[in-house]
Symmetry: C2
Subunit: 190 residues, 2 copies
């Protein structure tokens, strides 16, 4: 592995995705992924804990990005403005080069119950992290969890639209539009 | 099992909860639950598929209640009013007699990763069911999933407050207050 073979992680990811699509997630082994990427299993394990983490390794980065944006929001931002800043920060992660990969990744996840569960757990962890961040900003304990849950809802819905969007709208625009929809929605009278 | 032993399901539920608290979920068997409830394993399996379903058997009923309330909301209700009606309907399920049981149940779930996952899956199923119900009401495809996600967020946050509420406020009041918080929250400027 030298400068002639850059980005082993990226090639492993591509190889995994192709094999998951061909043989299913359960029907694919780490050895096959490494082989397809032209690296050894040892190299695989330098980058990923297991074949599931090929798909989820980015989630921590996404969470960090969002938590940081929440913390960096102006001190006088409302809870929902701070959450909106966090969700908008996810656009750094989901640039347009990533859309096709994200779409294929979601297809694999939707087809595999174990992976769907894993994704739900990651989203629950993201909600907890945002709740914690809001409490640290001084947001009231009866407001913080709702603001965090609502933010994650905006993120999920926007992400779904982004990967299935035929117009190729950037995710940042979709998030802005989802936030507007939320605002309109909650003019409820209950 | 005659009229002298009413509600085997209720006794099995109580027995399971006591054993999960004493020995943990993983450390409890169906045979032990049946034994504690004074019934046979066969009776257990007439009521529940396995020891996990003792905790989750009510979830379908809750989902049905909420979906029905959504469908029954007035034709001119806004999407969020219909979702609010669905969430408020959960109060039929969570009457105050159920609060202590719900609190203990949540303790068992929080202590067991497998059960936490199961709960996340049930919540995801609830979100899908509400999305479907909203689409059937004619709500636009770019609004329905967000309204459903937001409704489930309101439900989750309200439920958490209800089981940990020292004042013993009924869940219906907590839901109303959470809906108000949501309305205030989403006055965002993004």
């Amino acid at each position: 592995m030298g400068r002639w073979e850059p980005d082993a992680a990226g090639r492993l990811r591509e190889a995994a995705m192709a094999l998951y699509a061909e043989h299913g997630y359960d029907g694919t082994t780490v050895a096959e992924i490494a082989d397809r990427a032209g690296v050894t299993a040892r190299t695989f394990f330098r980058h990923f804990a297991d074949k599931r983490e090929v798909l989820f390794a980015g989630s921590e980065l996404l969470e960090q990005l969002m938590v940081k944006a929440l913390a960096d929001a102006p001190a006088d931002a409302t809870p929902m403005e701070a959450v909106a800043a966090a969700v908008l920060a996810s656009a750094e992660f989901f640039d347009d080069i990533r859309r096709e990969y994200s779409r294929r990744r979601q297809g694999v996840i939707n087809a595999t119950p174990e992976l769907r569960e894993r994704e739900l757990i990651k989203m629950a962890a993201l909600t907890s992290a945002l709740t914690k961040g809001l409490l640290e900003r001084g947001v009231a304990p009866d407001v913080a969890p709702l603001a965090a849950e609502t933010g994650v809802a905006v993120f999920r819905v926007s992400f779904e639209r982004w990967i299935s969007d035929p117009d190729g709208e950037p995710i940042v625009d979709i998030i802005r539009s989802t936030l507007k929809t939320l605002k309109a929605l909650s003019g409820l009278t209950a």
